[in-house]
Assembly symmetry: D2
Homo-oligomer: 347 residues x 4
């Protein structure tokens, strides 16, 4: 960290900055550059002091952080890609992971129907919400434990791994008992007690980006999970909020290669929530893959017009099959494959 003092800063100001550093256990060096006093500290391999603890000191002008505030999730700390296993699926390796299913678990028959269709396509991971975070208290909130039981039964019958959302620290043990991957949604990206609870259990976690979270805030949210003991975290770009309402959100495709530079964690794309329109899902899914995403999570519903939530952005099963077919060609052109069940790949 390098602190540049104001031109008007006095010796007492400099001394106070240096003393604060020493009080935090660091060894400051005082120098000069561009006619300014600078106070610096080398982090070595460890953590630097927090900028916030210096910004209110008199005479401080600029604070230059030389390391990101996240450590465990940074590529520097762990140069190799993290690969996560969930059921038979691998996420973060050479092949593109593919998760699909309905927005909500509405009932047993609806869930089974779409799951069996997807399993027949070779899809290894089923998504489906039992606890639904809804903007309005009057909207369908999910089947809760009943929904989890339906998902568990579907896993038994299809062999698919299950990803489902958890909304509250109290529910973490219950959801972890039924699911293979815990999803933390966009509205909870900075629900820190939930992040800590997810960090203290062993299931992999898919952490969606907050609607207006910076990349750094997102990585620090992942750092909460990892620093509490769970290194099996994947990041899911699902679109950010913008001034333009012509799509539900703006899919930040540039975040994908940027994250691949910054972190070793797998990066998943959610084109369904990003666009909010089923007819934009395939092009945005392909864009995410071309940009280097490790996986996709896509809403598929057997009867989108009957869906209790997100029908307008859900693919019909036949369109999900078309999407997989075009992803097969696309991944091949990128020297990658699709992580589908072997029988489906042979088809």
């Amino acid at each position: 960290m390098i602190i540049v003092m104001k031109a008007t800063a006095g010796a007492r100001d400099v001394a106070a900055v240096a003393e604060r550093m020493r009080a935090l256990g660091f060894t400051p060096e005082v120098g000069e550059a561009a006619e300014r006093v600078i106070v610096s500290v080398a982090a070595g391999g460890g953590a630097a002091p927090e900028a916030e603890l210096f910004s209110a000191l008199p005479g401080v002008d600029k604070i230059v952080a030389l390391q990101p505030a996240y450590r465990l999730v940074s590529r520097a700390a762990h140069p190799h890609d993290t690969v996560i296993r969930a059921g038979d699926a691998l996420i973060g390796g050479r092949n593109l992971a593919f998760m699909a299913g309905p927005c909500s678990v509405e009932n047993r028959a609806q869930t089974l129907e779409v799951a069996e269709y997807l399993a027949a396509l070779g899809v290894k991971i089923l998504r489906g919400g039992a606890f639904k975070p809804r903007t309005s208290p009057y909207s369908f909130q999910g089947l809760h434990e009943t929904g989890l039981e339906i998902l568990a039964e579907v896993r038994e019958r299809t062999g698919m791994a299950i990803i489902t959302e958890v909304l509250s620290p109290q529910d973490v043990p219950l959801v972890a008992e039924h699911a293979d991957i815990l999803q933390i949604g966009t509205r909870n990206m900075q629900n820190f007690t939930l992040l800590e609870a997810a960090g203290r259990q062993p299931r992999p976690v898919l952490l969606k980006r907050g609607m207006s979270a910076t990349i750094e805030e997102w990585l620090l949210a992942a750092e909460y999970i990892v620093s509490h003991g769970n290194s099996q975290v994947m990041l899911c770009e699902r679109g950010i909020r913008s001034f333009d309402k012509s799509t539900r959100a703006v899919f930040d495709v540039g975040a994908i290669p940027l994250l691949k530079h910054l972190t070793h964690l797998p990066v998943i794309a959610d084109p369904s929530h990003a666009t909010g329109r089923w007819d934009l899902v395939e092009p945005v899914a392909k864009a995410a893959v071309a940009a280097g995403a490790d996986g996709l999570i896509v809403e598929v519903h057997a009867h989108p017009d009957q869906a209790l939530s997100d029908g307008v952005q859900s693919l019909r099963p036949d369109r999900a099959a078309d999407l997989l077919a075009s992803l097969r060609r696309l991944t091949a052109a990128l020297d990658r494959g699709l992580d589908l069940a072997p029988a489906a790949l042979a088809a």
Copy 2:
């Protein structure tokens, strides 16, 4: 609700829309306007069907909601201003409420020092965080239960009411036991299980606006609390996220009079988090009051340069006194007063 069908919609599409309405217990009417078929339903005094349940039906073009999705918090439902009591303070009435104190409860002495200073100024409500939501897992996270105990002791000694943040549904009973007002922070505005827990206990709740929450989303978050049983909710504008980093956030001053149209709940302004700079706090505080805010919540620290968090945006006590003096003149020019302890007002 009025649903406008596409020019290409057929009779079967119209029938499906009407049938969905009937299935939800509504009585649709089919008409025509601008060479389009329209299917409408009158909500009467009650709720309209949810737009989302129709948007994926074939042939649907536009859906016009005629009522907001929130009900209990709307001005229409309750024309008179809600007035909330906390200790000796009144929030939402003629006089401007004023809450002040440090970002974090760092220790007993620091908290007492600033509280006693503020109490001497007549301030009736002390803010101070015991559970701190921090972007980085490595930042100071607050004193937790010890912090609550310090706040309770300060209340005993000063007679001030206490507002403090709660981060998790599990902590709601504990925080409600020690505090007079529960604060739900910007990152938790759509932490729905926390909102529900806050709705099931009797303390007033200050609900901060999410960093990128629309006014409607914010009111629906308040609706979660009220619909779970607690009508004592105040809304706190604390700045929204923008493209410009020259201030910490952008204080949406126009939201204040807009909210006064839309809802009966009191509206509080937080100029400290909105600006992130102590030297902008007074002008933005005054702006909020001129725009019609019912109260202010301001960070004040006895020694901002020593603060463990938010020092750079905290007022020194003497500047808080100056702010109160200028607010006294300002409120008088607006035919309002300041909700301070009587002795201070007489001074």
Copy 3:
């Protein structure tokens, strides 16, 4: 257009709305839906009245536009894709158009060096700025007419078509004399006198999206050009402004397929300005193509570290060659080709 009156609107309010419609030459119909009076007008094939002319009338609640305000650029008006020719290049057809070159024309040698390299790769369109819109008045502003003459000479020597920016209506004739395509930059997307001037000359126009322009505003800006007589317009997504500064802008990849639904105009992607980092250019370029872009415009500089502007986002020539190689495989997997000179394609 359908106007829904407030529940409290009276007969006089309705009459005023209807009369305003008649005054504008439309035939209103008055009906009822959801216990509200509605006043509607069918646009037929023509234009609907402007919503703004009704929004201040007493008793008006909601105004529902049934047609977009743009007409000539809409897909409905012209179902087939517009294909634009510039020199030997075709933009908007089956093959991906590729424009490349330096941010600024800095001098003759620099421009020739990169142009000859690119021409040897088969690139048919050279980009290069002679008039530079710079945030600071103290930054390099371009070579102006000298720069145009250099570009014209490069065209002579390489056979490449030239795209270059025009900043002012006065300069349109001069730039149109030297260039094959006029570029209108993001800061000028709503410089309406410039749009009109570009509409009154015959060269194709590449219209960049404003940094915070909605899709509708962008299409209306294109409509300015087309309605003034020039139908040869292509739209260029170059990233939009967001709260996150980790990339220069956010590339709105979902805008590409959305535009392909809404308009017949070709859609170009600029991954250089969107990301601001050369190492993100290739993945975002590929993403744009996978999402359906008709072409790319990419900054390439023979010596990026010497560039007077945008060096950090410019590709080195060898990396441009690598990009073309991977685009060749990618377009093939999408059943498309690359619009390169035949010799290069044969290589």
Copy 4:
């Protein structure tokens, strides 16, 4: 400027940075801080080199600018407030300037009616658009020269100064001939040829903030005007673009005191465009004044429901009178006055 090299930078990288500085006429110093090489240059009283010229050099990690890129408009360059005279009005002094009038000059009678009403209230500056920047090419575009002539006649009859918008460099002489203040609108904030033309003529200029312009970009746009010879520039906050459509824009009230720190130029507030609703104009106008604005510009129309543009955000004349009455009390409480004609103040 301080350039911090990467930990991996070599001696050749450092030498290249230093040499680039020397080539630009600066004297670099090479030092060390936090185990990094730093290359710095003191700007003295003058300009520092541009960061962009170094960012693409190998081994460069961070570049710390110690001066803003704007100079002439900075408070440091000119500590006293700039005060601008237009007709009888003073802008930037102790008293609040007040500009009012219709969005567009629609015809002679409409303009005279509202102008005479406002003049009777003591308003010294009339706003009214003759050249209208409209999102759609099919909307009313203003009366152009005829509109200017109407405004000139109104000045003759009322003694009011005129502010009106100019859209194109070609029109600057014509508009400057008829108007007392030239307005440059939000869409043209970075229309640099227009800024330069406005800088080369003698009338004061009101420069609106771009819809998504940062404070620094805005000040650099003002710097264009001032550096081309015209120091009579005022800045107008008119709301910025956000994700929330419940108001037309978000009025960035914190920008007002921030600008008063950074620049000596007067700061004007436009609550009409910021809110887009007449019933929010008064509270936001008062907020702007409480935050320290030097003036207001407000849309007033004799018959808002008949307006050809912006009717919904225009005040009726009686409401403008009410606004002035409440501003009189508000400014008094802030130890300021209202810059109205003396007769009106005596009333």
